[in-house]
Symmetry: C2
Subunit: 323 residues, 2 copies
């Protein structure tokens, strides 16, 4: 089948490349450890020229052979590649943000091959505490492509910086950011909590659920600063093994995130029921979140698939990059 678009999901630590055919069908995909913070450093020939630019090198590694076969393929990218530390800074579009607005502000970057890379803008919410995203806007658009514009689902994107995005009539109208994943990593690797934890312990439902319950309990009401230390003391008293401690900490932090989310939703939509949730992201992490969301009283939780590549396809289509 004929390739029609190269779509890149280019974040801080990784770069995913998709070769898409008619209707956005994925013909081929790859994942490289070439995020913007770990670009290749060894110079080599790119399109016949000696090159030492990390972005060009990573780009060539990701899809050079696809472009060799078909030099005129349009290329679109989303994520931190458009940040101030990325290849070229793409603007932030303000909320409410839509497919139309985002696709009209793609940032073009000329490459050594003579073709342009088109970077999707981020989204900024200018509230008293401003909020930003880069990459998640594309995933949300990809999920909407399946859900349809009239859905009132709340979209959750668990990860280093979890995002919760409210969409109305195809517009990203509001979102919150929780630094849950990055906080878990920093606590596990760089505080006393990590000293008694087993690294890379397998998922343990009992310990994870206990963490969620503590976050949702009276003790948890005052927030994570005071419950965190229990991830150590429950180890000291023999109630949590080394392998259980990271599972407990994960449940505790996710539980605190969801308790806060529930409070925010009730503040904003007093009296209404908790919304249906659609999760986008790493499947294993989404399963943890679904478990915790159910404990937290969210009745309807589903998981989205292929949101990034669908979103990039929709953006390229709306921007007129596809013939």
């Amino acid at each position: 089948m004929q390739a029609q678009l190269i779509a890149l999901d280019w974040g801080t630590t990784s770069l995913r490349a998709y070769k898409l055919g008619p209707h956005g069908l994925v013909l081929e995909q790859r994942m490289l450890a070439c995020g913007i913070m770990q670009l290749p450093k060894v110079p080599r020939l790119v399109a016949g020229q000696w090159c030492d630019d990390g972005f060009e090198l990573a780009f060539d590694q990701a899809c050079g052979d696809w472009l060799d076969t078909c030099a005129q393929l349009p290329v679109i990218a989303c994520g931190m590649v458009g940040s101030a530390q990325g290849w070229r800074e793409a603007v932030y579009r303000e909320t409410p943000a839509s497919l139309g607005g985002l696709s009209s502000s793609l940032q073009r970057v000329g490459t050594l091959r003579g073709i342009d890379l088109h970077i999707v803008p981020g989204v900024i919410q200018r509230s008293r505490l401003p909020n930003v995203m880069r990459g998640e806007e594309t995933q949300v658009l990809g999920a909407l492509d399946v859900l349809g514009d009239d859905s009132r689902v709340l979209i959750g994107l668990p990860g280093s910086h979890s995002k919760w995005v409210q969409v109305i009539a195809g517009n990203l109208v509001h979102f919150d950011t929780f630094m849950t994943g990055e906080l878990f990593a920093a606590l596990s690797e760089h505080t006393i909590l990590g000293r008694t934890q087993q690294r890379n312990a397998p998922f343990d439902a009992r310990a994870f659920d206990l963490g969620v319950q503590v976050a949702l309990s009276t003790e948890g009401e005052v927030g994570p600063l005071s419950t965190l230390f229990s991830a150590r003391t429950l180890g000291l008293t023999g109630e949590l093994s080394a392998a259980e401690q990271p599972n407990y900490l994960s449940g505790l932090l996710i539980g605190h995130e969801l308790a806060a989310l529930r409070t925010l939703l009730r503040q904003r939509h007093a009296g209404s029921e908790l919304p249906a949730i659609l999760l986008i992201g790493n499947p294993q992490l989404c399963i943890r979140y679904r478990r915790a969301l159910e404990a937290c009283g969210f009745a309807s939780v589903s998981l989205a698939e292929q949101a990034t590549e669908r979103g990039l396809w929709q953006l390229a289509l709306a921007a007129g990059l596809l013939d």
Copy 2:
């Protein structure tokens, strides 16, 4: 003046040594970077014997010359030196804990010099989420020595793991732990927040106060997981400079700690006024806490001095180590 006691405050990263005279008067003091996690490693002669034990080496460095002059001085120590990773594990005494109970459970360790080191036990609170301290119990006793037993003050010990201790009639009856200081360090050094922060920025009252205010505001009510990201986004929008960001983050975390503390106090003592606060610890940090406590509605805040050395003196006296 005649030395009567050697008192050691031996924590994770540092070791403070005091030579105390009559009535616990400080005759001489030192600070060494020989906490239990960074003990000396180079073998040398100690009391005429070749020694490669890090605890013995640090002990000799801290007070070997004092003992050379006066070999029979009793020695007492508090802090993480009594933990499972310390020189010898000292028990935890359960709450309510008092001077009498703590001084009756000193853990003796024989040293190469033939004299004993006496380690103060920690304190454990066996609640659903257990809580422990090592070192702070000694500081609290030192502060009580000045306050008197009938005080109803709440004692705050800001630091890596802030403790808030309620004392009734000379007994440590309840305490809470907040991992505020260690969380600040892990966030600043190992997450995206650090990338735009100026390291070792001087204190900036405006940025610190803004962080406290945000923590105490409606947005802050749902806890730090959702406000943390603002330490980055207020930088992206130009509202916080690189030097202001760490000050804002410090105010934000301390504000969240104190908001949680206030809620806990109101849960436990409904209707009563907020208690008077006595702070023990690093003076610059205590000044930050006092500022935030006042913003949080605590009317009476004072700072204790020499709490550790007074506490060690009292414990040695009660244990009969002093003639």
